[in-house]
Every structure is written in structure tokens, then in C-alpha cells.
Symmetry: C2
Subunit: 117 residues, 2 copies
Amino acid sequence: MKILHHPHRDDIHLSSVLYALSDPIRLGIISVLAQTGEQPCNYFCVPVAKSTLSHHIRTLREAGVVFVRIQGTQHFVTIRRADMDTRFPGLLDAVLGAASDAADFSADPSSPSDGVT
Amino acid sequence: MKILHHPHRDDIHLSSVLYALSDPIRLGIISVLAQTGEQPCNYFCVPVAKSTLSHHIRTLREAGVVFVRIQGTQHFVTIRRADMDTRFPGLLDAVLGAASDAADFSADPSSPSDGVT
């Protein structure tokens, strides 16, 4: 089974987290996850190709912002909230608050499964 | 006289601010400015060439994070604290708090003037 790398909490760096959050698509993904909890990758209704969505989720995962869990052919994504809040208190809430005025990346649970990472 | 562009408060975007803050050098510059207030560009003791420092300060200026004031051959930099706090409440404090564990970019007031932007 494919093993996805997730950085240890102590190896999560502020600059990588800020970079991961500096893209509007990735901000939208995080905003949706903050509101809904864990979701499969195909839950996100974003105006990009599946391969691009995979890239964005990989960037968030490698920065330590999200955890990706494999179940069958699906990849489920969730925010590493405890790790974020421990490493950088208040940062995620401030970013999410600021992002609330951004574009509405509404979820679309009816879209077909793809299992991207 | 050279006119430097600064985005209007309403044109400051979260993604641009997060990107500008996602570099360790730029984070160091902002941390120093937060502690000391307005400083000339040559105040920052960073391990990069002057041209690279200019690039970093330009990135911060164009994102709306800092204001650059020209006086003679000097460029003075200050954080646009009111604009940041109005647009993204709590964000800068959260970033600065998280950055406090980062590398020490101590100021070096004795370094020669260069007037970079």
C-alpha cells in the first residue's frame, strides 16, 4: 500500500505553512475542511484539473497542514488542527478568519470519486 | 523622484500577504520591524546580497505588508500595521508570534548605507 509522508509536528515550519496557505485554491480547501471536517478529495468543488488538485493537496500535506488517509481508492483529507494550534497558536484561526471573505469554494458531494492525493 | 507603488488597503490580498511572509528572510525583516519600528534598508543584517534584499523588500511592499519611504538616497521601511490589522485581524500577530522561534535576524545599525528598495 502506498505510504504518504507526513512531517512530524516538530518538523513543521512556519514558512512552509504560510507558503502552502498562500494559494487561493489551497485556502479554499482549508476553509471547507475547517467547516466540514475530514472529506474525500473529490468533495472539493474547485476550478482546476484533478492533477492540479492533487498537487495542491500534496503541498498542504507536505507542509504539515493536512493529514491524508487512504481508504480503498479514496484519499480522505483533514486539517492537522492540533499540530497547527500547538506549533503556531492562533495562526490558522487568523488565516481562516481572513479567508472568510474569499471566494466560495462550496463542496460538491455529488461529484464522482477519484481518489487523488 | 522615483515613486514606489503601494497597493490600496482594499487591494491587499490574503494570498499575496501569506506568500510575502512565507520566506524566512522576509519573516526576519518583518520581525525586526515589528520590534524596532521604521528602519532604513541597510539596518537588516541578513545573509543575502543587497539586490536580493531589495527583492525581498519589494515583495513585501507590493503585497502591502510594508511601506517604503524615500529620503535622499535612503529607503526607510515600516510595517503597514493599521492596514494589516484592519484587513486581516490577528494575522500579523499570529505570524510574528510563530516567527519568534525562528532564526535571529539581529539588526546591524553600523553597516553602511545602500538605499535599496
